[in-house]
Point group: C2
Chain length 249, copies 2
């Protein structure tokens, strides 16, 4: 129905960080003008006369920034994977979430057409408007509720943040013997592709999965304390998970 939907034609982004920068670039590419403002200091009412206001600041600052706003007809969204949608409910009649499920670094422009955008809103009209804009930015638009969004963010921590730290350790180990990091890239590629095409637990390999205790002891003797702690707990969890899979068969 036409009257339940309003096309977003002007946008204000509040924030100066990575997400603000990426959204700004992607939206300008659509031919939509963007008004970028800082979250610091006073925000004037006339700066907020856009169809959509995007708060793109650190999670812990969202509520404070929102509290400084006077919103009339605009839709107000934040971009966080963890902050409740309800922190916006006293600020605007139409509000929602515009959460990009991607690791975002300022200065490295992302191909937004491949970024999953996770959308939520407090009413159907705002939802339809946000989804319409999102679909102009990317092929991957997902309508998600608060609980799903938080679970997504958590899954992303394991798949991105923790994985990245393990790859850092892998590089650190190789450097001790002057081995170039790229020797291990084919292995990493294959690991990821195999994990995507299967349930990762079903294609687990390695000494922990095979419970090769002698190899694990020898490995631990080569690690520093921090590496060893991670090695021990992940090996233990792999053994436990693989045992539980066997029991269920």
């Amino acid at each position: 129905m036409n009257n339940t939907f309003k096309e977003i034609q002007s946008i204000t982004i509040i924030g100066k960080g990575n997400v603000a920068w990426q959204y700004n670039n992607a939206i300008v590419n659509l031919g939509i003008n963007v008004n970028c403002i800082s979250s610091r200091g006073e925000i004037k009412e006339e700066e907020l006369k856009s169809d959509l206001i995007i708060i793109a600041v650190l999670d812990k600052a969202i509520e404070e920034v929102a509290g400084k706003l006077r919103i009339k007809d605009s839709i107000l969204v934040h971009t966080s994977g963890t902050v409740d949608i309800e922190v916006l409910n006293k600020i605007a009649d139409n509000y929602g979430i515009f959460y990009p499920l991607q690791t975002i670094t300022k200065g490295i422009q992302i191909n937004f057409s491949d970024v999953p955008l996770c959308i939520d809103a407090n009413n159907e009209k705002a939802l339809a408007s946000l989804i319409h804009l999102a679909k102009r930015l990317t092929d991957k638009v997902y309508e998600i509720n608060t609980s799903q969004r938080k679970e997504l963010h958590l899954a992303a921590v394991f798949a991105n943040n923790f994985t990245n730290h393990l790859l850092g350790i892998s590089k650190q180990i190789l450097e001790r013997e002057n081995i170039p990091f790229d020797i291990i890239f084919p292995l990493i590629n294959q690991t990821i592709e195999k994990a995507k095409r299967n349930n990762p637990f079903d294609v687990q390999t390695g000494p922990a999965k095979r419970q090769e205790m002698a190899i694990m002891e020898s490995h631990k003797s080569r690690l520093d304390d921090d590496e060893r702690e991670i090695y021990e707990i992940l090996s233990r969890k792999i053994i436990k998970k693989q045992d539980s899979l066997k029991d269920n068969k």
Copy 2:
């Protein structure tokens, strides 16, 4: 020098597992005949009249299998990332390592041209012969000593086995909210590409890196005990590593 090098023209593979299967396929593709034999039971001397004997069995069985062999002129190798080269020194005059740095699953044929092969040998002639064969199998041939090989295997455990387990947890978390695993694939791809192009520690993101304690507490409340233990230790290690990087700047 021509007299220091012998082209390998016949090969015996001992073993029936994943690595044996992959080597068999890749070597047959070169037009070299392969004699595949089981490591169980007696192994007759006439079955070992090949230029190269590859022991491709579980690490813990290598020494026992080697002990059953009578080798004359052949080169004898094993394929392990962890077992000492010296377990072969009483068995053969020419011996070495033919270690594929890849996660190998039986039945899923690998494109061997992209598998790094790590080669070691007890003398120059055997080394030259092994490298010559390896270069026919793959563009990525590395001459590595025992210490490097063990470090490689260890780095592979972090980059493959542990990463795979984390991706399994990521999927498990998403399933609790009926979210398809593939929503997170663009994030995984970007994480890996960024980690390869940088020192992963330098491009770390996430709540632990930013020391967002409230988010981490909220995350932990959504996890089961095993997931939470991993979450806690990896978050702690990320914080510690990022602090040490700051201190060094």
